[in-house]
């Protein structure tokens, strides 16, 4: 196992200070290692996550070579040739577990933003004090965007949040964590080959959730109540002005309708499986409130905004992979973790084999199935599929 830094490196280095997991502690488990602390319904801080992953490395006795950065993987006569910062390795098979969030994605028009406005990605951001005083434009309303917008607003700054398509969820539903419902009702069990539009499922933004001791919901209504101003998707920069989409109402409608449908499936499941008595009564939430007049443009030179935080998603980085298995969009071509190259595999990608693959505990069944394929490949030494 090759690790460019330390065990749990990206959790240590690529998250902001207040970051907590979205999954409750009881759900944060790895094969043979579960949370045993006093707060099963809480959410791990970064220190707790790195401690958890370190414990797993120890109990699983994983042969991790730390501070070993892979700079190239290329085909060789009998497998692959791997070049690392600590030498060369030959291997018959490779499992790519480098994740889906190696680089922040920022739209090209960021170059047209005046230099008087400071720009940060979530990889740069640690805490509000690092930003200049004054207004902040947070771009993107997935988990990262809503969390940073809330934190920056609480620091006393005026915050504008640019909102495109997003996934709205309540933190708790009928008295249970919403991710308990995803797990128990079987939504997360849906297999990658049963999903209608797999490309879309794999690109779905993270839900508007935050893990806090209060188990508070952090949807757009919560942000509006805090005084965050909502604007549409940022479409372009023209003459030093940010231009926002006028389609805000529809992204609200899409997210509200999808949440309603999801809660409906939870209710149907609870009724069908006789769980109604264990949980609270069905709930419905107010539609996302549309601002009286969402502005369509913002003068970036006027001083109202001093900084921009781009919470516009992440992409994987396969720059080191000298094997033609990456598509024109920069995504790995794979079928449930079986990569389109002999003896090459992937783990830890969104909806790899199931919807739960996106989460820490999703790795267990994925790893068993992918490694089962790998073991057969090694045993047979031939091009088996599936």
């Amino acid at each position: 196992m090759l690790e460019r830094g330390e065990v749990a490196n990206s959790w240590r280095r690529e998250r902001w200070d207040s970051f907590r997991l979205l999954t409750p502690n009881w759900q944060t488990r790895l094969p043979g290692l579960s949370y045993e602390g006093p707060d099963p319904d809480g959410y791990m801080t970064m220190d707790e996550v790195t401690g958890f992953v370190e414990r797993f490395a120890a109990v699983s006795r994983a042969p991790v070579r730390t501070r070993t950065e892979v700079t190239s993987v290329r085909p060789a006569a009998d497998g692959y040739h791997v070049t690392t910062s600590r030498g060369e390795i030959g291997c018959r098979t490779v499992v790519i577990a480098s994740g889906a969030c190696n680089r922040p994605v920022v739209p090209p028009f960021h170059e047209a933003v005046p230099s008087s406005v400071e720009q940060l990605t979530p990889f740069d951001y640690r805490e509000p004090g690092q930003l200049p005083d004054g207004g902040v434009l947070v771009v993107g309303a997935s988990a990262t965007g809503v969390q940073l917008a809330a934190e920056l607003r609480r620091s006393g700054r005026p915050v504008i949040l640019s909102v495109g398509e997003h996934v709205r969820l309540p933190r708790t539903y009928r008295g249970r964590d919403v991710l308990w419902w995803m797990d128990a009702s079987g939504v997360w069990d849906q297999r990658y080959d049963e999903v209608d539009d797999l490309t879309r499922a794999r690109r779905l933004p993270s839900p508007q959730l935050v893990g806090t001791p209060e188990r508070a919901t952090l949807d757009l209504n919560a942000l509006t109540a805090m005084g965050v101003e909502l604007v549409g998707r940022w479409a372009a920069v023209r003459d030093g002005r940010a231009l926002f989409s006028g389609g805000l109402r529809n992204v609200f409608s899409l997210a509200d309708l999808k949440m309603e449908r999801l809660l409906g499936t939870f209710d149907e499941w609870a009724a069908a499986t006789g769980r109604d008595a264990e949980v609270g009564p069905p709930e419905r939430f107010a539609p996302t409130a549309v601002p009286a007049s969402a502005r369509l443009q913002l003068d970036l030179r006027g001083g109202e905004i001093r900084s921009i935080v781009w919470a516009t998603g992440f992409r994987p980085d396969y720059g080191w992979l000298d094997v033609p298995v990456v598509d024109e969009k920069g995504r790995l071509r794979h079928d449930g973790g079986v990569v389109d190259g002999p003896g090459m595999y992937a783990l830890g990608l969104p909806v790899l084999r199931r919807r739960r693959s996106t989460f820490i505990h999703g790795i267990e069944s994925d790893a068993r199935e992918v490694i089962d394929h790998l073991a057969r490949y090694v045993a047979q030494g031939s091009n088996i599929r599936k």
């Binding site: 479409a235 372009a236 006028g246 529809n250 409608s253």
Partner: protein, 182 residues
């Protein structure tokens, strides 16, 4: 896949989507219109040819659109105003979207009607107040849909239609427009 009969060949659209994933160049269309000034603020615009799927294409028939201003603008009212054509485009695009999405979801439509209102402060175009924009201040579309579906499913049709609408996008997001003299 579906039993609804809304008259949309969804399978052809889905097949095209798959086919064009692998050949983005064939997906590049150019829509065209040519306009002739008549008199006053009256003009006629002709639409027939366009480019797509890698070659020149043509509508079955040529269509000519008259545009003018109404009598309250001291004009002859030989046709609707140019800005009303935006409502025509938006309404027909969203309605086509509703039918397509309904077909794809197996929802039988019985009637779909849309009413559009574009709020327009004409002090902008008259130059009477430089703080007033020339275009619409806002557009409101109200759909009345009778279909074999719940209210929520109908709302989802309308939302998905907006999500995939060319004209909704063109009106809600900025577009780079070049105007030059030949």
């Amino acid at each position: 896949m579906t039993t609804a009969a809304n008259g949309v060949n969804v399978q052809a659209l889905l097949d095209a989507r798959e086919a064009l994933k692998g050949s983005p160049e064939a997906a590049q269309f150019v829509w065209r219109a040519t306009t002739k000034w008549r008199n006053g603020v009256h003009s006629t615009t002709t639409v027939k040819e366009y480019f797509g799927l890698g070659q020149e294409q043509s509508h079955k028939t040529e269509t000519v659109f008259d545009a003018d201003h109404p009598e309250v603008f001291a004009a002859e009212d030989n046709g609707i105003t140019p800005i009303e054509y935006l409502l025509v485009g938006l309404a027909s695009c969203l309605t086509a979207g509703v039918a397509s999405v309904a077909q794809n979801r197996g929802i039988q439509l019985r009637s779909v009607e849309a009413t559009l209102e574009g709020a327009h402060d004409i002090r902008g175009i008259l130059g009477a107040d430089s703080d007033v924009r020339n275009g619409f201040n806002g557009i409101k579309v109200t759909f009345t849909i009778d279909a074999d579906a719940s209210k929520q499913e109908i709302e989802a049709l309308v939302a998905q239609s907006q999500k995939r609408s060319a004209v909704f996008d063109a009106l809600t997001n900025p577009t780079d427009v070049t105007v030059e003299v030949a």
